[in-house]
């Protein structure tokens, strides 16, 4: 039906696949934390029951269980009790349906530890910081690494012999190790940069020059801790791809045609970059994972820190919310890159048409 609109067909096809993946991700997100028999209400009650009478404890427990959708309630929201005065548990499947319904409508539930704060509020407060920390460093690291890798591939020689082992070494340093080394050396020993936080404690966020300056000053170490390591990994990948593309017939032909070096480099970069783009999207997941620890090392108030705090205090609803967000953003990143590549690389769409799938 959509044969005459290959682009639309391609986008739709990818979109459906990603939506199905998203549903599976939600299911995984729902099932995994429930493998063990622990219950958010138990954790809340351990704190909340202090100083309450037995009856008040029971009532409190039931109201929490209602809040977390663990027991059946009537249409008016009243808790249903059976003949023995006990509450009725909601079946796992119905819990999942509720979870699905809530998630799709953007409701991630309430935090266990920060009750009654909404998980979505916690995430909304944290995400801008993570974006501010990671987006520029990942993006610049990606660009810098790719340029370096392309140059190493194209020039080879001494340039390659220096860049390549260095990039290889940088990419084998774990994010957090490098972060700690930076903190130790530049913050503790030399005292040049602040060791932690996103801005000076003496300021409240504002658009003042002072605040932005403070943010920039605090940004230096975390930025480099991500930027350099990421650039290393990207340079390695780009170099491989670049060398591969360099050996291709079309590059040789371009050289024989007498095209300018910059033009050939742009052929090379553009084509070698296509798989790197996919790689970028795919590794956003692991980057968020690595940067999670970066945020921990630098006490940066982002999503990683929120997740880490949640892990430390067993705040499952927040953990689930964060992991769902991470998964979703990875899916979205992949989807956009798929679409982008669909436009940038005619082979992809053509492949789909020819394959007839």
């Amino acid at each position: 039906m959509l044969k005459q609109y290959p682009t639309l067909r391609y986008i739709l096809q990818r979109g459906v696949w990603y939506f199905l993946t998203f549903l599976v991700a939600i299911a995984i997100n729902f099932i995994l934390p429930r493998l063990g028999d622990r219950n958010p209400v138990d954790i809340m009650m351990a704190k909340a029951s202090q100083g309450l009478s037995d009856e008040a404890v029971k009532e409190k427990r039931e109201s929490f269980e209602k809040e977390f959708g663990l027991i059946e309630v009537t249409a008016e929201g009243k808790i249903i009790h059976d003949a023995n005065g006990k509450t009725v548990k909601v079946s796992g499947f119905n819990q999942f349906l509720n979870y699905l319904k809530m998630t799709l409508s953007g409701d991630l539930g309430k935090s266990i530890q920060k009750y009654p704060k909404n998980v979505s509020d916690i995430i909304i407060e944290a995400v801008p910081w993570t974006l501010a920390l990671q987006f520029p460093s990942i993006l610049l690291g990606w660009i810098f690494g790719n340029v370096l890798g392309a140059l190493a591939a194209y020039r080879r020689g001494v340039f390659d012999r220096v860049i390549f082992p260095m990039a290889l070494f940088m990419s084998s340093v774990p994010f957090f190790v490098f972060g700690m080394v930076l903190v130790y050396w530049f913050a503790v020993v030399l005292g040049w940069f602040p060791a932690m936080e996103a801005y000076s404690g003496a300021l409240n966020p504002s658009l003042s020059l002072e605040f932005i300056g403070s943010m920039g000053y605090h940004y230096v170490l975390p930025f480099f801790s991500i930027f350099l390591i990421l650039a290393g990994g990207q340079a390695i990948g780009m170099r491989s791809m670049g060398i591969y593309e360099l050996g291709t017939d079309y590059i040789k032909y371009a050289k024989w045609l007498g095209l300018k070096e910059t033009k050939i480099l742009s052929y090379l970069f553009r084509n070698a970059m296509l798989p790197q783009l996919t790689g970028l999207a795919l590794s956003i997941g692991s980057m968020v994972g690595g940067a999670l620890i970066t945020e921990m090392i630098f006490s940066y108030p982002g999503l990683g820190m929120a997740m880490l705090t949640a892990i430390g205090s067993n705040d499952y609803t927040v953990i689930q919310g964060c992991t769902l967000l991470v998964t979703t953003s990875v899916l979205v990143a992949n989807f956009s890159v798929d679409i982008m590549i669909g436009f940038l690389d005619p082979r992809v769409k053509a492949g789909m048409q020819m394959g007839g799938k």
Partner: protein, 613 residues
């Protein structure tokens, strides 16, 4: 190349837009509370205190449960809302605040309301306010202060003449039929902060008299308070409170002086090591977190109450709580064997950085000036167990347990009297709590050397907390009665030994004290002495009788060993930096207790600190 540039630039622009977007977001969050902070908080006028708020501040509602409320509305902080009286953990005396303690006996506790006390909206603090919060539990089951009604049968209000002024006099009647415990009432009087009833009654009315709804309000916009500071702004990174120029107490309690810091700022750090770095760099002025090797920080102007070990004033006692219902832990000989197998000096030196004095057997903190009067050294010598592996092995044998060692000398397993192999015991502790993990590791090492088959059982905090009241453990790390309150050491004994609410393990039963299920009232060995002593001590005024009762209770504890005290730690790790502020209370300058200037009587030092020029 050109195509790439375009692509790169568009991505960069996207990034900038996102960045800008995020800043707007953050702004919106603090808008409305933030008028003074546009130019930042001047360092010389700001006091940075840390360690009392770890998560995002979620509510400033004083009616919300203490675990939900953010600093300084939570806990015993007196900066915004104040209790009737302050307890000075250094002198053991009560100091006046919203009220003055007049009399305390077995029948009632009498407090005069300070006639000059005023709310920030200008209304006076009156008995209605006090009754509102203390009796809220009678109106609503979900009241956070509901437990007060278990102890107080009523509050009588009289008007008396004092120094020529009319004063409201409150008599808190001890509930003789209930818990009959004036000690706990004293605890409550210095812990429960009074809230403006005229504000909250109105809120209750507006919310159809539903307390749960009122508890959900954040009360974070110019709340009506009685304390010296008012909420200024907050975010997930810090909470800022600002000095109230019209605080009533400046005139009545502080000779007309203002508290020195204009702002008190509480940065929110998520991980322990950040406090140390911030303190060293002078980013925070005082903290109450465990910072190892504090002596290394002296060069960075970080100080503590004492100049040398143990650096801090002890106040809390971490213990290893034992599940006394499970074989072989149900044998007191076996429990005593365990107590003899743990190297307390190693724990002191390695796990808690030497912050503990040498500990004594028993549940009375021998080194505490407030408790030492109840400590009987002869009893401890005669009955207590000290670290001694040989006697530990002998006690294991005496308990009828046989240890089987492997060829290489390490422990393999234990058998009981019948020769049956006993399962390995575990010590439950939250994973990641580094000082407790270290303590457990040291304990396990000694226990295994003594032939006791124990292993570390580090679990997520989320499993740890529910396990404690449920009794779901062999051994578990615990810190009973962790705050220094007027009721110590009674409250510690009560928390470890009371059979008041004894319930067997299982079936969802939970006990908030004596989680080790010691001294079951239904068993043949039930020692009724324990509960009767716990009942009698709070109503005993006679010091000699009190001392005898405590001595007896402590002897029973040492004989039965239902738990193993491990070290003495401070109630709060009071460490401060003199980089920006000086004249902190300390051993050499003891004008106040060893507490941060936000807790109980420690608050008074806010009027004494001096900024460094």
């Amino acid at each position: 190349m050109r195509g790439m540039n375009k692509f790169g630039i568009s991505l960069a622009i996207t990034g900038l837009v996102l960045l800008a977007g995020c800043k707007d977001d953050k702004q919106a969050q603090t808008q409305g509370q933030d008028d003074s902070a546009a130019g930042g908080f001047p360092r010389g006028k700001s006091l940075y205190l840390a360690g009392s708020q770890w998560g995002d501040p979620s509510t400033f509602n004083p009616l919300a449960e203490s675990w939900q409320a953010a600093w300084p509305v939570s806990d015993r902080f007196n900066l915004m809302y104040e209790p009737l009286i302050n307890y000075n953990s250094q002198t053991g005396k009560f100091e006046p605040l919203l009220g003055t303690l007049v009399l305390s006996d077995a029948d009632s506790i009498v407090v005069d309301i300070n006639p000059t006390a005023k709310w920030s909206d200008g209304k006076p603090v009156v008995s209605t306010d006090v009754k509102f919060i203390f009796e809220l539990g009678r109106r609503f089951k979900g009241a956070a202060t509901g437990f007060a009604i278990e102890f107080i049968s009523g509050i009588n209000v009289d008007t008396v003449e004092a120094n020529g002024a009319k004063v409201e006099r409150l008599s808190f009647l001890v509930d003789k039929k209930g818990r009959n415990n004036p000690l706990v009432i004293l605890d409550l009087l210095q812990a429960i902060r009074i809230v403006p009833s005229h504000v909250f009654e109105a809120l209750l009315t507006a919310n159809k008299n539903d307390l749960a709804e009122v508890q959900k309000l954040k009360i974070d916009s110019v709340p009506v308070v009685s304390g010296p500071y008012q909420l200024d702004s907050y975010s997930n990174e810090k909470i800022v409170i600002k000095r109230r120029a019209d605080y009533w107490g400046n005139a009545s309690l502080h000779q007309g002086k203002l508290p020195v810091p204009l702002f008190v700022i509480h940065p929110i750090y998520k991980s322990n090591d950040h406090f140390a770095i911030a303190l060293q760099k002078g980013d925070i002025d005082a903290s109450q977190t465990f910072i190892p090797r504090i002596w290394l920080k002296k060069k960075d102007k970080v100080q503590t109450w004492m100049d040398q070990a143990p650096y801090f004033v002890s106040g809390a006692m971490p213990i290893l709580l034992i599940n006394t219902t499970k074989a072989p832990l149900n044998s007191k000989l076996f429990r005593r064997a365990m107590a003899a197998a743990i190297s307390y000096s190693s724990i002191k030196e390695l796990a808690v950085s030497g912050y503990s004095p040498d500990i004594q057997p028993g549940l009375i903190m021998a080194s505490s000036p407030l408790e030492s009067k109840y400590f009987v050294a002869e009893d401890a010598k005669a009955r207590g167990v000290l670290f001694n592996l040989d006697s530990a092995k002998a006690l294991v044998a005496a308990a009828g347990v046989k240890s089987v060692f492997k060829a290489d000398g390490t422990l393999d397993y234990m058998t009981d009297k019948a020769g049956k192999k006993l399962p390995t015991l575990t010590i439950k502790a939250p994973a990641g709590w580094s000082d407790w993990e270290a303590t457990v590791t040291i304990a396990v090492k000694g226990l295994r050397e003594a032939g006791i088959d124990v292993r570390e059982g580090f679990v997520d905090a989320g499993l740890y907390w529910p396990a404690l009241p449920a009794g779901d453990f062999d051994l578990i790390m615990h810190k009973p009665a962790s705050a220094v309150t007027p009721s110590l050491p009674w409250s510690r004994f009560d928390a470890v030994m009371s059979s008041r609410n004894w319930k067997p393990i299982g079936g969802g039963s939970s006990m908030n004290e004596n989680q080790g299920r010691y001294n079951s009232p239904k068993s043949k060995e039930y020692n009724s002495k324990v509960d009767s002593l716990l009942k009698v001590i709070p109503i005993t005024a006679d010091e000699v009788a009190l001392k005898a009762a405590y001595a007896e209770l402590n002897r029973i504890f040492m004989d039965d060993q239902p738990a193993i005290p491990l070290c003495y730690l401070p109630e709060q790790f009071y460490e401060f930096s003199v980089a920006h502020w000086t004249n902190w209370p300390s051993e050499k300058n003891p004008y106040g207790p060893a507490q941060l200037p936000m807790v109980s009587a420690g608050t008074n030092s806010l009027w004494q600190l001096q900024p460094v020029q």
